[in-house]
Amino acid sequence: MIVLGIDTSAYVNAVGIVDGSRVLADDTYPARTDSLEQIVANIDTTLKKTGLPLVRIDGIGVGLGPGSWTGIRVGVTVGKMLVFGFKKPVCGVPTLEALAFPARDEAPLICSVIAVGVGDAVYAGLYSPEGDGVKRIGDYYIGEIKGLSALITKPVVVVGAEAERYARLLRPAPGMTLKAVEALPSGAAVAALAGVRLARGDSDDALSLAPLYLKDSTARVFVNRYKKEQG
């Protein structure tokens, strides 16, 4: 099964293609503020490089975020219109899971991190290796990176952009080994995780596919706080 994976959550346009467990392409295109401008051309470039026409793709994986709010809207919209256009199944893949996946052999606990953009706050997920993939332990975490320390109960690998800096801010229990792997979201990882679900006959509804923001917009936060205060 050939799966195309895209992720635009991290100020890069990641485009990958996998065939089962074989990676056919795993490209990262720089996209500081122009992920929208480049993404469709980037997909076309990667397809042409592998010599695969779009019709050979059996399914699509889309990185849902968290990350850049604008970025994930672009990726999710492109993903849903790709499958709406050529009627193939789609799977949304949380970007934290896609980050954890390539690091699954590094440690019994994988901590993927994505910067929130305020101080040392991160979106994070803790994963353990399971079968061909990874399994999330507990809920997603949003907050200062050091607040995660208490949850590190096994040797851990921190994965993400600036993983080394975040790893230095963690204070795990004495004796826990702590590694860091600098990584950006990978299109191939998104494709591989989508492929696992697609192989089971599982997919998401394209039209309702939505980004994983993990955080309300500021306006909604204020309104909710106001409502609470008013009882």
Partner: protein, 336 residues
């Protein structure tokens, strides 16, 4: 040529199918009115999130209503400028992906050019040259239009658009959002001569507008009584304020029509739905050999049929966008 139009520049998620720039086969619009009422206006991040949730459904609705599939579509037109960047991006991402998957020509459309074409959808016989007044909550321009897709900007607002002034005055008076339809309705029970509000720049030579001072005049006259908890004569205030806006819009447009010696005026944009504006234009143009055209009400506010129509006209001129089409929060009218 069957064109799929997509519009997400502000708070409306819209898609439409239009044949040959003339016949509307479907026009699906999902308004975010519930959110606007809750937040008292458009919150860009919240609007962009809603567009992302709705865009697929709205495009499917447009296709289903017309009894078509994407295989029937021959070109894609999308609002790419001006507007809220995060909102525009959703429509453009959808449009360019469809264009890529289905190998269809793509055209980025200027939102205000869309509004101008709304009137050509309603009145295919609208003569050229004409003078066009296009007014909404986000824009306010007076144009000379010698032929389709050619514009000479005669004037524009220096501060608030007329629709924005409606919204802000409505908000000040504690009325619902959006202010335009609310004030229009309330004014029918009020006396437009009850209060004397300024008609900003009505006598100046320039065709520019300014509505910020008028809004402030309303606020200044009533902020103290409002703070004291007095009951305000809302209908009279609304009618008097509306009359001031309408007087300025009509006076400047009629003068532009005389100066440019045209026999037709086209009024478009959300504010063109205002019933008093339509009345006063009708009265002012009577016996002067000038015909005033308004779009049907469903085409006054943001919709994607007008984007498809404008995109079609641009494509007939040989214009195309490529897959790197981007969005622009501000953009001059008339450039491809």
């Amino acid at each position: 040529m069957l064109v799929l139009g997509i519009e997400t520049s502000c708070d409306e998620t819209a898609a439409a199918l239009v044949a040959d720039g003339k016949t509307i086969l479907s026009s699906a619009i999902s308004t975010q009115l519930d959110l606007l009422k809750k937040y008292g206006g458009v919150v860009p991040e919240i609007a962009a999130r809603r567009h992302t949730e709705l865009i697929g459904y709205v495009i499917k609705e447009a296709l289903d209503t017309a009894g078509m599939t994407l295989d029937d579509v021959e070109a894609v037109a999308v609002t790419s400028r001006p507007g809220l960047v995060g909102c525009l991006m959703v429509g453009v991402a959808a449009a360019k992906t469809i264009s890529y998957v289905k190998n269809l020509p793509l055209i980025g459309v200027h939102h205000i050019e869309g509004h101008i074409f709304a009137n050509l959808l309603s009145h295919p016989a609208l003569p050229f040259p004409h003078v066009c007044l296009t007014v909404s909550g986000g824009h306010n321009m007076l144009l000379y239009v010698p032929e389709p897709c050619k514009y000479e900007v005669l004037g524009a607002t220096l501060d608030d658009a007329a629709g924005e002034a409606f919204d802000k005055v409505a908000k000040f008076l504690g009325l619902d959002f959006p202010g335009g339809p609310v004030i229009d309705k309330l004014s029918r029970q009020g006396n437009p001569k009850a209060f004397k509000f300024p008609r900003p720049m009505i006598g100046t030579k320039s065709f520019d507008f300014s509505f910020s001072g008028l809004k402030t005049a309303v606020v200044n006259m009533f902020k103290d009584p409002l703070a004291r908890g007095e009951t305000l004569p809302l209908a009279d205030i609304a009618a008097s304020f509306q009359e001031a806006v309408v007087d300025v819009l009509v006076a400047k447009t009629m003068r532009a029509a005389a100066e440019k010696d045209v026999a037709a005026i086209s009024v478009t944009g959300g504010v063109s739905a205002n019933s008093r504006l339509r009345q006063v234009f009708a009265a002012a143009s009577k016996n002067r050999g000038i015909e005033v055209f308004f779009p049907e009400l469903s085409l006054c506010t943001d919709n994607a049929a007008m984007i498809a129509a404008a995109g079609y006209a641009r494509m007939m001129l040989g214009e195309r966008s490529d897959l790197r089409l981007n969005v622009f929060p501000n953009a001059p009218l008339g450039l491809p």
